[in-house]
Symmetry: C2
Subunit: 355 residues, 2 copies
């Protein structure tokens, strides 16, 4: 697989046209699996890691007929390429920062990524644009079954799938939904959402998973419990709660419009004006302004800009993406200038199309 080719495309899950995509960026399910014949990675030496990679890679490459996967040997990638894949949501920060033999199989549309030697031997992930957990589940289930028909997973009748960290034991499933909640943030109602989710044992995180800050008003909601419930029950818990949050965000957007349409229109338009004209801009400010513009598109306060363009810009203005696009390593100040220049170019192209 050619990693460079990814710089000219973007993941299908960013197309911004899935169900409820004005508020739900993407849906994701991942499964953690380990091979029965090898120790967990915490106890595996380099040789064992290498054996695991070779074996699982061959199984992944056998799946080709099903999902057209390309394979990347993450162990031989440089820091920038690994960071690029993290920004793109194709590998986890853990896989990027780990050591030894490891890799990832990625489907052409970037909906599927199968990581080898992350925290577990195998971490499978399926992504979809919008609120589409059923589709994710259907696809990941097929992949899981296909691999399981070839290998023996570490499984206990009592505990279920065994995993390196006890928090994943049982189903090994993590179901998550990435939500864009600017109105709940603006109205400070977001704290109530956090409290409600905590009570039903769901976790809230930022754009880049565990420990990351919620930038640009993006919140990832996911299950914490993997044991004692079926996969379907875990999915259903998220599926039940997300429509309430969507509805809450929607009501707050309408409330903001009702209270001060002009003020909101002004905020959104100024955000666009700055993104369209700045000569230097930080990643954080970019996320913040893109978030405003994204809500503005949904509320029809901005014409002629596609949600997919804005979704792409969230990813493509990240540090590693800019360096890949620019074909050179860039210091933070250089990145801010390249980011501004990239935003001007993309938004002026969109502008030209609009006229």
């Amino acid at each position: 697989m050619d990693l460079e080719s990814l710089t000219t495309t973007s993941g299908e899950w960013l197309r911004g046209s899935g169900p409820e995509s004005a508020i739900v960026i993407s849906s994701r399910i991942r499964l953690a699996r380990n091979l029965a014949q090898f120790p967990f990675l915490t106890r595996a030496d380099d040789g064992v890691r290498s054996e695991i990679e070779t074996l699982l890679r061959s199984k992944i490459e056998n799946l080709d007929s099903q999902c057209n996967l390309g394979y990347l040997d993450v162990g031989t990638l440089n820091d920038l390429d690994r960071q690029f894949l993290v920004e793109r949501q194709l590998i986890s920060r853990e896989l990027a920062e780990s050591h030894g033999s490891r890799g990832v199989g990625i489907s052409e549309e970037e909906n599927v990524s199968l990581m080898i030697n992350e925290e577990d031997h195998l971490r499978m992930q399926v992504l979809r644009s919008g609120f589409a957990l059923d589709d994710c589940w259907r696809e990941i289930n097929l992949i899981d079954d296909a691999i399981e028909s070839e290998v023996t997973y570490a499984f206990s009748e009592r505990w279920g799938y065994l995993t390196a960290c006890p928090t994943n034991v049982g189903t090994g499933i993590r179901v998550s939904v990435m939500l864009h909640l600017p109105a709940l943030v603006l109205t400070k109602e977001i704290q109530k959402v956090f409290q409600a989710l905590q009570k039903i044992s769901l976790a809230v995180r930022g754009l880049y998973g565990e420990g990351s800050q919620a930038m640009g008003d993006f919140y990832q909601i996911s299950n914490q419990v993997t044991l004692g419930k079926s996969e379907e029950q875990v999915i259903a818990a998220i599926q039940d709660v997300v429509p309430n949050i969507i509805d809450y965000e929607r009501r707050m957007r309408n409330e903001l419009i009702k209270q001060n349409r002009q003020g909101l229109h002004d905020q959104v338009s100024r955000a666009y004006g700055i993104l369209r004209n700045a000569q230097t801009i930080s990643s954080e400010e970019t996320m913040h302004l893109l978030s405003s513009v994204r809500m503005g598109i949904d509320l029809e306060l901005i014409d002629g800009l596609d949600m997919s363009t804005i979704n792409e810009l969230f990813i493509q203005t990240q540090p590693a993406h800019l360096q890949k696009i620019q074909h050179e390593p860039l210091e933070s100040a250089e990145r801010n200038a390249v980011r501004a220049s990239y935003l001007r170019r993309r938004l002026s192209a969109a502008d030209a199309e609009r006229n």
Copy 2:
């Protein structure tokens, strides 16, 4: 004279093409005169005021062959129209806020305005784009002579021209130059300029004369002394000092570019982006942002925008101008929306021409 027609034009002095017009907006000379046969206005009743207006108006209308003056009866104008003329620099705030018979003769190009019954019986003003005090002096001198050939001014051999306020006695001249000094403000060097001017008895004021705040980095420098010096000496004092200030501002602009070209480019571009996109904007923010853009044009950080467009926008986004353009009275919040809409329209038209 039809006041409405002024809403579709702008003063010649805004064309931004006079000498040093990147830094000097305009040059102005005014002369204060009183008629010997009448008491000063502080002691004139309504009947006397009316007599003065009738007499001076006829003399002004006789000047027509020379400067094609239109006459406005300020006493019968409503508040909005008077404020409009103040914003346009055609009448003083004093004339607007005074009472009884009063008026102004205005030349077609708005370079000449002759106010009757302001603080003195007659206040003559000549304006020019850029640094052009000699032209102002030549023209105002001709007008003064032409009127003096028809009337008897209050004049004392010992004191010179007599005026209602002793600060104007002697020559009755006020020579002023409106400077745009954003780099001296940004680098905080402006205080040194103030101190130096104070030492040589020159006054510094804002865009709208005495008591007004310096908005948008505009500073009006003028003489305070009118007695004991000839008109030429007063003009020479300003003519001597202004090139130093121009040079100082120019050096600070270059210094800013040298120290942080990108930062300055960013500031200027964001200012443009906000003006081009905002949905509501105050007069103060507009002045501040236009000031950045104006410097940006001079420093070639912004292409394709004319200095004259920006000069016009400073005047046309003032409250009374917006209400005249919109043909209705507007509350402050409404003005902010109309101002933003006007800026978007003007700047998008300039944008379209550029492409």
